[in-house]
Amino acid sequence: MNGRPPQSRGLTAIDGAMVLIVVLLIVQIWLLSATLESYLAGHRDVAVPGAIISAVLFAACFCLYRFVDRIDSEVRKG
């Protein structure tokens, strides 16, 4: 199987989660700027889907953070 030590495997998992969070954050920043631009242009109907999608993206980021936190505490304890 994988012969690497748990410390190294934990770091790989954390790095993967961090990359995912960065991608989600880029999408969220784009979403905020697009929603703001539409709002300023008078298209108020985009505010609801924008807020819902942004909340989903934040929830995903938070879950990934909890994952990183769990890996961190497991590896450092063990």
């Binding site: 954390i14 969220q28 703001l36 242009a41 924008g50 980021c61």
Partner: protein, 170 residues
């Protein structure tokens, strides 16, 4: 207790400043991940703020407001005023001896102030080169997608009175 820290007997500094060099890589990554997650929270708050602004926006009322006297501005002249609220700039143009038109001065693209270009007889937004027809406020050219909101004017005892604004303003 914060959502970002599990209940523990160990002091906080032990979580954040490990005495083991190998653990530093974990601490750094966890802290950076926490920063990214808080940034994501900030983005969500921004979207919720836009939602709140959209939902709580009141319908504007249109009180009659005297804009100018009939002969106050020359043909081809311009006067700016605010209608219906003090933060809604509008522009009044006398296009002919008996013809006056007034529009919201906020460009429908990104709210820059439009001005009257007398030589071309059109309204221009200098920010992104958007042009609007002076006759009806429709878009002639440029990035704006919607016409300028038009202020309805009424002649009353030698005065021009704004009575409502047609089209959605920003």
């Amino acid at each position: 207790m914060s959502w970002f820290r599990k209940p523990s007997d160990a002091p906080l500094w032990r979580d954040e400043f490990s005495v083991y060099t190998a653990d530093e890589r974990y601490v750094n990554r966890r802290q950076f991940t926490k920063f990214l997650t808080l940034t994501s929270f900030g983005m969500m708050v921004g979207n919720l703020w836009i939602l709140a602004k959209s939902t709580l926006r009141r319908q504007p009322s249109f009180p009659p407001v005297t804009v100018a006297a009939l002969d106050e501005i020359p043909v081809g002249g311009v006067k700016t005023f605010h209608y219906p609220a003090s933060d809604d700039p509008c522009i009044l143009v006398r296009t002919a001896a008996e013809t006056y038109v007034a529009y919201s001065q906020k460009c429908t693209h990104l709210s820059c102030a439009v001005y009257y270009e007398k030589e071309q007889n059109r309204l221009e937004c200098p920010c992104h080169q958007g042009f609007f027809s002076i006759a009806d406020g429709s878009v002639l050219q440029g990035p704006p997608q919607r016409p300028l909101p038009r202020v309805t004017l009424r002649k009353e005892a030698g005065q021009l009175v704004a009575i409502r604004i047609e089209g959605e303003s920003v």
